[in-house]
Amino acid sequence: MADLSMEIAGLKLKNPVMVASGTFGHGEEYSELIDLRKLGAIVTKSITVSPREGNPPPRIVETPAGMLNSIGLENDGLKKFIEEHLPFLAKFKTPVIANIAGETQKEFEELASTLSKERQVKALEVNISCPNVEHGGMQFGCSPVGTEEVVRAVRAATDMPLIVKLSPNVTDITEIAKKAKDSGADVISLINTVMGMAIDAETRRPRINRIVAGLSGPAIKPIALRMVWQVAQSIKLPVIGIGGIMNARDALEFFIAGASAVQIGTANFVDTQASIKTIEGINEYLDRKGIKDIKGLIGTLNK
């Protein structure tokens, strides 16, 4: 068995496979189906200050090798997260990464400072990349200025490892990543969903109520991998790879491209065991290749 443990900006993981925000709820549902203890970390659904009802349905639709979603950050809000969901997650001893989404700089501050007091939360992931909300979200993550604003505010409010989750809907991802770094990010995670759209030609109606939505799943894997590689090449911060990872082979591509960890998102819907199988498959690969430690694989693309 190879060594899968990883330390990212002080965040200790027994393995570098996490579940992605918004695709795993707060773990309650999946706990019936998989052993949460086996996961490297659990990234929560985005937490907002106040509870959010989310967007009107329809919210999801399948596309070729992918899906569109426009959930609109439906969640119970900060208070209920701490009172109800966090105690549940705490039982499993798997590091919890709280994903936070503010509409304003101030909300981000509040989320960060409040959650930093929770012992069970081991890191924060700042969602400046949600395409499905009116305020905040991608508005921040698609400009260097917006990125700086949010990241500085969160940095001032927390001592925890600070992960900034980037949107792929930009001309130059490295510019945003650099800005995040300079503003205090410890880790860059990417990608959030790609803006997309689908229409029902029979009814001529948009498949998603808000028309434009976020594309995830295998379809976007090449885009995600490219951006992870670009960011890993251009800045000296650990990178978490997200986007279309269905299995160990996909995950390995991200490590080779420079990721220090990966997150499994849409794949959880397709196969509830996807995260566990990915961990097993990485192990098998490393053993087969005689690689003793996954850290020896990171950023080893043979050009």
């Binding site: 918004g22 695709t23 795993f24 709820g25 309650e28 549902e29 999946y30 019936e32 189906l33 659904k45 009802e53 989310g54 967007n55 009107p56 349905p57 329809p58 919210r59 999801i60 639709v61 399948e62 070729p64 090798a65 992918g66 899906m67 979603n69 959930i71 439906e74 799943g217 295998p218 269905m246 849409t266 959880n268 819907f269 397709v270 196969d271 509830t272 065991q273």
Partner: protein, 274 residues
Amino acid sequence: MHSDLKYGKMNLMIQEKARIVEHQQIAPNYYKLTLLSHYISSNTLPGQFIEIRVCDFTVCPLLRRPFSIHGTNKDKKTIEILYEVVGLGTEVLTKHQIGQELDILGPLGNGFTIKKKGKIAILVSGGMGVAPLKALAEHIKAPARYVFMGCKKMDQVVCEKDFSKLGFEVQVATENGSAGKKGLVTDILNGFIDSAQPSELNEINIYACGPKAMLKAVSEIAQQKKLNCQISMEAYMACGIGACKGCAVKTTKGMKMVCKDGPVFPAQEIIWPI
């Protein structure tokens, strides 16, 4: 006091490979699929569903597809699915043959609440809505039992015998009049209600499943006449277990998830149009 049989989520879900033991076309575009599942066959409540990965070698189709449990056989350890081919996923499903395995997730959702109060049970189905209603029918003990089935045309009238055997009176409406009454299933329902004694109305429990437009119409009838009515909703689904918040439906109690909070809802809770 009568205590209703509240079929909430009291069984755990599992993901497993289930072998196909039967798979046949029962009407144009309608198929019946029987799967071997020790666990689900003996842990299912009427109205619950499973999610099937319709093809495991490709990511297109990607998401699992939800199907109501149409029947269970505890002795044979099997569950039955009745499905209509409407798109890629169901098309691909037809290609699977006896002996092959399908990756399934279930049982999912909350079933119907079987009302002890009320002497008259009316099942209202539209098209494939018949799928969960047959499973439900087996549990209904009300002295007067009716199924009103709405279908596009004669071909699509299925399961009549199953209901008859269970002591249900079956009334059919088809849009083109090729079987039963010409018209909509709500015509039958309205007719029934109009000719009912006022005292009988209190005894009616409606259980409905079908296309949205039909469910809406049934709900409106029920609400007007203040009849007890449960409807099983459909929504596009990803996770099927309440984690993704994709299958939302607006209710008087806020957004609910069809997969986890439903698929069965009290009719008056749904805010139309959804």
